[in-house]
């Protein structure tokens, strides 16, 4: 029996507003428990929700970025259930008329590109956190997170492998961080995925019964969880059992999924429109203004980098893998660096150093302008490329400018043909064997002579010039 797995994702993205979706309390991460809660977040008697415009703007941005429809009118609904981290005993969410409907996310698995349809995206509030450590065997409730704006993005069940699901999640993660609506910090819970998994015999039109894996916050765990769950379902069915609808959790220590809530325990959420919030009306003007202020999307930027700067598809893609990197690149070019050189420096030395230091380009101690200044000194032959690498190291550590380091350490490369000729002459005299070999046809012998010349000049000679003059003298 050949089986096919059917996967859909519901991703909860925390929106990057300063304050909560329905109150003015701060959304900043890491504060002392229960210090970022207003009467609204703690669900005091008499407290009422007030919509955060910034959350709506971010929903509009997402809708535009995926080519979805922004509903001119959408409704907030109460999702009723009891849990200590849900202070009101209901979550304000959207049910029948969400803010965004439709849209597409493009994914790439290997060489294959696939378009995954988005069903909808809706606004809702996050719940608080249950804390189990250091609570005397009890559970502590921290409501700092309660009320943080979430945009829940629901995909159609169109993924057919763990790899596709992870690719979708990664593409969505890139997109929301790119357009700046979410900080994408998965360890802090800014981007959480619920995965719906079902299996069916290949060729069958009907979907099988699905189980929902909740709260995956790492791509690695997502892949493991889906693979385990898929096989588990197949094994169950082959053993003659039926799959029961359930909500399950992934245990990263055991690598297995386990039951959290069965269909019988499933809640009846008794959704109804929240009478405390009028319908959310979004005008054409608002949408147009958001559209006009929106940051350039990665796909468009990639294309522009190729045409405007003559970069290869690979380079354009690498440079646009993060917004910060693309901005850094363009800032370098704006400061006068050659585009191709700038690209090489970023993708080479800068990326290597950042990776080693576990930093992102936003944390680079060398600004785009400072690096551009260094590249210009290579472009104008003040220093050669090898020297430049050393200068970059020193800039990184000291924060000093390229020019001040070049000056201070006397690193200007020698372009004085007289001096270079003198060095070459000495080297030729000191290395008759290599000269012999070269003249007898072993052209590679020039390399050791080059090495000697560079060494004699303490690396400061302009290599291109040395090569030129050396070759002339040897011919």
């Amino acid at each position: 029996m050949k089986w096919e797995v059917v996967i859909g994702l519901e991703v909860h993205t925390q929106l990057s507003t300063q304050s909560k979706i329905f109150s003015r309390a701060s959304t900043a991460y890491g504060a002392e428990p229960n210090t970022q809660t207003s009467v609204v977040d703690v669900a005091m008697p008499g407290a009422l929700p007030v919509m955060n415009r910034g959350a709506v703007e971010r929903a509009i941005q997402l809708g535009l970025a995926i080519g979805g429809k922004i509903n001119r009118k959408s409704i907030f609904a109460r999702k009723n259930y009891f849990y200590p981290d849900l202070p009101k005993g209901y979550q304000i969410s959207q049910f029948e008329l969400p803010v965004v409907e439709g849209g597409v996310i493009e994914i790439q698995v290997g060489d294959v590109t696939k378009k995954i349809n988005v069903t909808r995206a809706h606004l809702e509030e996050d719940a608080g956190k249950s804390v189990h450590e250091d609570c005397n065997g009890m559970t502590g409730i921290d409501l700092n997170r309660a009320g943080t704006p979430l945009l829940e993005i629901v995909s159609e069940p169109e993924m057919r492998s763990a790899a596709e699901a992870v690719a979708y999640a990664k593409a969505l993660h890139s997109l929301v961080t790119w357009i700046g609506i979410c900080d994408g910090n998965m360890q802090e819970g800014s981007f959480r995925c619920d995965v719906n998994v079902s299996v069916r015999p290949e060729g069958q039109a009907e979907f099988g019964t699905r189980r929902e894996i909740k709260n995956l916050n790492s791509f690695k765990f997502m892949e493991q969880a889906i693979k385990f769950e898929t096989q588990w379902q197949i094994d169950q069915i082959e053993d003659g059992h039926k799959i029961q609808q359930a909500t399950i959790l992934f245990d990263p220590d055991s690598g297995e999924t386990r039951m959290m809530r069965s269909k019988e325990d499933a809640h009846d959420y008794r959704y109804f429109p929240d009478p405390d919030l009028p319908p959310l009306c979004i005008s054409e003007d608002w949408i147009e203004r958001v559209r006009s202020e929106m940051t350039e999307l990665p796909q468009l930027m990639r294309e522009r980098f190729s045409t405007q700067y003559g970069l290869s598809a690979y380079d354009a893609s690498t440079l646009t893998s993060s917004k910060d990197m693309a901005v850094y690149f363009e800032a370098m070019v704006a400061a006068g660096a050659d585009a191709k050189l700038a690209a090489n420096w970023i993708m080479g030395d800068v990326s290597a150093t950042l990776n080693r230091e576990e930093k992102s380009i936003g944390d680079s101690p060398v600004s785009a302008q400072a690096l551009a200044a260094l590249v210009k000194r290579v472009m104008d032959n003040t220093i050669n490329n090898k020297t430049a690498k050393d200068v970059l190291k020193k800039m990184w550590e000291s924060g000093d400018s390229a020019d001040s380091i070049i000056e201070r350490d006397g690193l200007k490369q020698t372009t004085d043909t007289g001096a270079i000729e003198a060095i070459i002459d000495e080297v030729l005299v000191a290395n008759p064997k290599a000269v012999e070999e070269y003249k007898s046809g072993k052209l590679a012998a020039i390399n050791s002579l080059m090495g000697q010349c560079m060494k004699a000049s303490r690396g400061k000679a302009n290599p291109a010039m040395v090569t030129e003059i050396l070759t002339k003298k040897l011919s």
Partner: protein, 482 residues
């Protein structure tokens, strides 16, 4: 002093005949002396004195308004910082509010002096003030009678002259009906005029705060304080600030008063009908034109309300779970038991009934038949009023089919009491303003109220009509002999 109007009290304070502290002390003494009425849940002399001293300061430095220094009783549903805010329930018996409701803030800014917190039906659910954890309130006119509900404490306090004015709330008649039963005046404004921020929610789409006082003028002055846009309430209307007392003296000649024929059908006690019709006759003498109108779906307002209100309440009351504040059971083993015990112990019977009803009508498979259907009926009821207002400027009729019933009389069958709300519920369903003013007495001597219903934002016109009636009648000046 206790018979004086707000304006007269204000004049006394301005003329330094009496200080705010002295005035408050006199009313407090009277409230304490009549504790058997059970109109107050909390009295706190120290806190009252602080308010009064602040008022005296405002009076001294010239920043006083017309209500500065005037004592006020606050319905125990408005969160008031530092005061126990119980909502008439054991669930909040230990709850001292950490913040002020918008209404409380506005009262404080106006220099009103909090005399105490009035008794009410638990979580505003009731029409007799017998559902309070703190015991029933007695009608000052007849201590064997109910004062009406849910704002029974506020209405009784004003009627017994324990306070000149009081705040109250109305979800299905809870200002108008107790005002009628206690022979005082009260108005529920258009939905959205008074902010619900800090007003403990019963049914969010129906609740409105409003004043109770001895006269239309007093109500207008307090409504001026209570009304106004509040950005902390998303259902608060950005309606331009009004002086609700500006039209009190406008003559009524030519005012078209609609009398709904459905309000005078079977069920209305004949002595109540007679009193209401006599009041309407007075309007005719004042030059008003009486027209018959029809509100054909009046009867449907009862099932529509008793589906929508409990539904919203069942959700609004979910926050009372013993986790963060309020009553938590003493012993429990596990989360579910904590919830079950805390809520079972904290809520009274009527509240539980409505939570169960509300949960039921919202549940899977029943939502369309009950909740959705009720909301559609609601729209039809609102349309009925619009059709009627094509023919008249104000609607007049009874507040309730009877005058106040006896304490304990209607407790056997909860729905019997629901039927008494027939004339008031539709007004909340439509979001319209409604008021009650004294219109004489029933055969048993208990007060009867006249209800005025206006179109949206016609509070000033309604208060004008009420004021004019109060110039030519003296029912509103009568006080129970206590």
């Amino acid at each position: 002093m206790i018979e004086k109007s707000v304006k007269q009290l204000s004049a006394m304070l301005a003329a330094k005949e009496i200080s705010a502290v002295e005035m408050a002390s006199e009313y407090l003494a009277r409230a304490k002396a009549m504790a058997d009425l059970n109109a107050f849940i909390t009295l706190d002399e120290d806190k009252t004195l602080i308010d009064a001293q602040a008022a005296d300061t405002m009076l001294a430095n010239g920043s006083a308004g017309v209500l500065t220094g005037v004592p006020i009783a606050q319905k125990d549903i408005f969160c008031q910082q530092g005061w126990k805010t119980t909502c008439g329930s054991k669930m909040l018996d230990n709850f001292v509010s950490p913040y002020d409701a918008n209404v409380i803030e506005l009262c404080r800014k106006a220099g009103l002096v909090t005399l105490g917190r009035t008794n009410m039906d638990e979580f505003a659910m009731g029409s007799s003030n017998e559902n309070s954890f703190y015991g029933a309130v007695k009608n000052p006119w007849d201590k064997t009678a109910v004062p009406g509900g849910s704002s029974g404490g506020s209405a009784a306090a004003v009627a017994a002259r324990l306070t000149p004015i009081a705040t109250a709330t109305d979800t299905g008649g809870s200002i108008r009906q107790p005002a009628a039963f206690c022979g005082v005046t009260g108005i529920k404004p258009t939905y959205g005029i008074v902010s619900r921020f800090g007003m403990i929610a019963f049914a969010s789409s129906l609740d409105q705060g409003g004043p109770i006082g001895k006269s239309a003028e007093d109500c207008a002055l307090l409504l001026n304080v209570m009304a106004g846009f509040d950005e902390r309430d998303s259902t608060s209307l950005e309606h331009a600030k009004e002086d609700y007392s500006r039209n009190l003296n406008t003559p009524l000649a030519g005012l078209r008063i609609g009398v709904p024929k459905e309000y005078f059908a079977e069920g209305l006690e004949s002595d109540v009908a007679a009193a209401v019709l006599a009041a309407i006759e007075e309007y005719k003498k004042l030059g008003a034109i009486i027209v018959e109108v029809s509100l054909p779906n009046t009867k449907l307002s009862i099932p529509a309300y008793y589906v929508i209100a409990p539904a919203e309440a069942s959700s609004n009351l979910s926050r009372f779970d013993g986790v963060r504040y309020g009553h938590r059971a003493a012993d429990y083993s596990g989360l579910t038991e904590m919830y079950e015990k805390s809520r079972s112990e904290g809520f009274g019977a009527e509240v539980k009934r409505r939570i169960l009803t509300g949960t039921y009508v919202l549940s899977h498979g029943y939502y369309d038949a009950y909740y959705l259907q009720a909301q559609k009926i609601r729209r039809i009821i609102a349309n009925d009023f619009q059709a009627a207002f094509e023919l008249c400027d104000l609607i007049a009729g009874p507040v309730a089919p009877t005058a106040a019933w006896n304490l304990g009389e209607k407790n056997a069958d909860p729905t019997a009491m629901y039927l008494e709300d027939i004339y008031t519920l539709a007004v909340n369903l439509a979001g319209l303003p409604g008021m009650s003013l004294p219109a004489g007495f029933a055969a048993n001597g208990r007060p009867v109220g006249l209800q005025l219903i206006g179109n949206y934002f016609s509070e000033a016109k309604m208060l004008n009509a009420a004021y004019q009636l109060q110039q030519v009648t003296d029912w509103h000046t009568r006080a129970p002999s206590l």
